[in-house]
Amino acid sequence: MIEAQSVSKRFGSLLAVDQLSFSVNPGEVLGFLGPNGAGKSTTMKMITGFIAPTEGRILVYGHDVENDPIQCKQQIGYLPEGAPSYGEMNPLAFLEFIADLRGLQGAHRRQRLDYVIDKLALESVLKQNIDTLSKGFKRRVGLAQAVLHDPRVLILDEPTDGLDPNQKHEVRDLIRDMSNDKIIIISTHILEEVEAVCNRAMIISRGKLLADDTPTNLAARSPGHNTVHLVMGDSSQAANLATALEQLDPVSAVERLDDGLSLKAIPDAGQEILPQLQQLLVEKGLAPCQLYVQRGKLDDVFRSITTGARP
């Protein structure tokens, strides 16, 4: 388990991280969300022991990152931002170097190397200089390095940046595969990524924690969440239904579109209207041509939280 206890980081006059406290348990895939410069990377650098907090402390499975750095670093696999590595090496030599520094030996070393090379599809470039590889391959070499020693804690700074959609999909599968018994923290500003792999999301802006919830709950804070869109067969049916819908308790507003056939039922915050709507349709013997329920968009919530506007 990772515990951050009122951690702050100051660079000169800039307060990059401001009194951040949280804890993460095994099995959690935590997504750090935030605009550029929000303090995501700085927080990750502090957890991995690359920089020391100005105030507060961080414990990784009970070990203080500052006082017991080697113990902590052994438990952590880290992909720094931009996936740096040694360009003049080839991926095989690079991974072997990491395996040695991680203390992997014998058959286990061989098996872990084979595993990551296979998982990240590096076989075809093993003997090429890392400098000459594409951005996607460099990123995968960085990921391979991070997961090589099967760490209990995995910290990935923008793990899918620069990957094509197929590669993104594979990396997300990899993260999900490993998420059972590990602590995984990823930072990203791709919101679909949070919805795809994370079971917890923290929105950080200007070094402050603004929201900490499951991605689903966060999305539900979006204003359009659970709005029902309907298209009826003719305009009299639409008018009829609109009047009836306005009487329903959880409905806050009904909007009719210009075509006269479409309407939109917006619920009160946090309410669902679909069950009552269905009952209503049955009672009135109406059959809509189209019906769909709009899900909240993390995008909207993210934007409203990080720009200070109300959702």
Binding site: T48, F50, P84, L101, G103
Partner: protein, 244 residues
């Protein structure tokens, strides 16, 4: 295996994976050879020893060693790989030692490749091989001192050119600290004790006796102390600057 040794192996290999190693070795051998024969008057002296060869080493190192040391940390900081290295289970001291020893071993290889010089002098006459061995040892130690200075300065910047120039200047100061050029800067205002201390810091004075084959424990201690001090400073600088 110790983390410093693992890093040592990686670093030493990386020299030979890039043109750095070959350029360095070829230039070093060419310059060492031509200085010995043309400037040092190797034949004209008519003596079977290698002092014309060794006497140019401080000047060769002055420009070649900073070229080697400038990339040690500046490159890691520039490419961001320092973040990777420093979050692996390796201590600052191990990292500093691994990199320094690899660079030192590399200069050792370059130095060892000057062995045809030793063969020539043995073919031409009957030199004191003990003295030559001592001079090689002294030269290697002095290269280590230059490297330790360069490694520390390399950690202060992300820019290799800046690291190179600063290292040349600092090394030049150390080379000549026994000479008026440097001493005059201090003589007017500093106490005599300080001036004496500075003058005793000269690489040239300490190397001079070793290059003639005289091993004085004080000279060995001096170079070891310089290396230790600059490596310690390297650890501190790295800790402060690595994330910038």
């Amino acid at each position: 295996m110790n983390a410093a040794m693992i890093l040592f192996r990686r670093e030493l290999r990386s020299y030979f994976a890039t043109p750095v190693a070959y350029v360095f070795i070829v230039i070093f051998l060419l310059l060492a050879g031509s200085f010995t024969f043309f400037l040092g008057g190797f034949y004209e002296r008519g003596q079977a020893d290698l002092s014309p060869f060794f006497s140019f080493h401080p000047w060769l190192y002055l420009f070649l060693v900073p070229a080697l040391s400038m990339r040690l940390w500046a490159e890691e900081r520039k490419s961001g790989s320092v973040e990777l290295l420093m979050t692996l289970p390796i201590t600052l001291l191990q990292a500093v030692m691994g990199k320094f020893l690899a660079a030192w071993a590399f200069t050792g290889i370059a130095l060892a490749l000057t062995f045809p010089m030793w063969l020539s002098v043995n073919y031409l006459g009957d030199p004191d091989n003990g003295a030559i061995l001592a001079a090689y040892l002294g030269s290697l130690l002095m290269a280590g001192a230059f490297l330790a200075i360069g490694a520390c300065i390399s950690a202060t910047t992300r820019n290799q050119v800046v690291a190179f120039i600063l290292t040349v200047v600092v090394c030049f100061g150390f080379l000549l600290s026994g000479f008026p050029l440097v001493l005059e800067l201090f003589r007017d205002w500093a106490p005599q004790l300080l001036v004496d201390t500075i003058s005793s810091f000269s690489f040239l004075t300490h190397f001079n006796s070793i290059s003639k084959g005289v091993i004085d424990l004080r000279d060995l201690l001096y170079f070891s102390a310089v290396i230790t001090a600059w490596l310690a400073a390297n650890v501190v600088v790295l800790d402060l600057k690595k994330a910038e």
